[in-house]
């Protein structure tokens, strides 16, 4: 089970393993994106994320942050979530993607990281953004890295407590 947590927080990022300010595309502060590598949930609304994308030495990036409205969540096996995963594998893979989750059975959002101009265009058509609202934010350096594209065509999670596309059972 993933022990890496991610949250966009308003308060200071206490004890985070990586954190960086986030901004809207017109430059307004949007909080701090913070990540923790630990077993216990660090803040109430933190969600588990693919830890490979967390890099304290990572450069600035644009992200598409998809989060459900309060009180709403979907089964991870919902057909819309399956199809979004297929579309991620079909298209050009951005710098990194991870679904977000708290428990073993629900999809509770996604984060997509882009740096190249082509990938930035991809953010505006984030497949997960067709499920829940997507916010495109600019995030300073110090938290987000890159991951290799999944080999494909697997859309399943490797253990229900792990985000997709983490691709090992270990």
């Amino acid at each position: 089970m993933s022990r890496c947590w991610l949250a966009l927080i308003e308060e200071p990022a206490r004890a985070a393993d990586a954190a960086a300010p986030a901004f809207t595309l017109d430059g307004r502060p949007a909080g701090t994106l913070a990540a923790w590598r630990q077993r216990a949930k660090p803040v109430r609304y933190a969600l588990r994320v693919d830890e490979r994308m967390i890099d304290p030495a990572g450069s600035p990036a644009l992200i598409s942050l998809v989060l459900p409205p309060p009180g709403v969540r979907l089964p991870f096996d919902d057909l819309t979530v399956q199809q979004a995963r297929r579309r991620v594998l079909t298209g050009p893979f951005p710098d990194a993607v991870s679904t977000l989750l708290r428990d073993d059975s629900h999809f509770e959002g996604a984060i997509t990281i882009a740096r190249s101009p082509a990938d930035k265009r991809w953010l505006t058509d984030d497949p997960f953004g067709r499920i829940f609202p997507a916010r495109i934010l600019a995030v300073d350096g110090g938290i987000l890295g890159s991951t290799a594209a999944p080999t494909g065509p697997t859309i399943e999670r490797y253990g229900s407590g792990n985000p997709w596309p983490w691709d090992l059972f270990s």
Binding site: R86, T90, A148, T151, T154, I155, Y158
Partner: protein, 186 residues
């Protein structure tokens, strides 16, 4: 001339013992090539911890490959939920493989070997095609250590694995790889 089966002899299948420099029980070299997006990828990283179908194909232009890809697309619908992977390799440049992949609707990784370095290393050059100098069509099913579980020589189309044969191979490999193959029951 045909060879008669003797009693007790296994029914022949399309499987081969060896193709080029590769044989069942041996290992695929852990080569690096560019993927369809232009990223350098190592085979072992693509295989990860799963059974994998590694397909060497002539190129987009070959009608036999076009037919066989339709078979792999059927397998894709199984593999996407079965913790199994597919990798396709040709001498075409990344951009060409990207276009082929997109046109097919394939959601697995294509690798490009335009300099034919890996082709030479593996001894998989199709000598009868002096125009494209492509890979001889071949399909290997490997385990995570890149050990070759089965091999199919697709020079003649009927040598290629059927959907059923690939499912059979992936089942056998998965059975050996997953310690919880026998479902836990009370």
């Amino acid at each position: 001339m045909t060879t008669a089966l003797t009693p007790g002899q296994a029914t022949p299948t399309a499987r081969e013992r060896a193709i080029g420099g590769l044989e069942v029980g041996g290992e695929l070299p852990d080569f690096e090539l560019l993927d369809h997006a232009g990223n350098r990828r190592r085979l072992s990283a693509l295989v990860g911890g799963d059974p994998t179908v590694v397909q060497f194909f002539r190129g987009w232009w070959c009608p036999k490959e076009q037919a066989f890809f339709r078979r792999l697309l059927v397998l894709q619908d199984d593999a996407e939920v079965a913790y199994s992977r597919i990798v396709s390799i040709s001498v075409d440049p990344s951009e060409v493989n990207a276009a082929l992949r997109a046109g097919l609707g394939a959601r697995w990784t294509f690798l490009s070997d335009p300099d034919r370095d890996v082709l030479s290393q593996l001894g998989l050059r199709e000598t009868t095609d002096t125009l494209h100098h492509p890979y001889v069509p071949a399909v290997f099913v490997t385990d995570p250590e890149l050990r070759i579980h089965s091999a199919y020589n697709g020079y003649w189309y009927w040598g290629r694995p059927t959907h059923g044969e690939l499912v059979h191979d992936l089942r056998e490999l998965t059975r050996t790889l997953r310690p919880d193959w026998d479902a836990p029951t009370p």
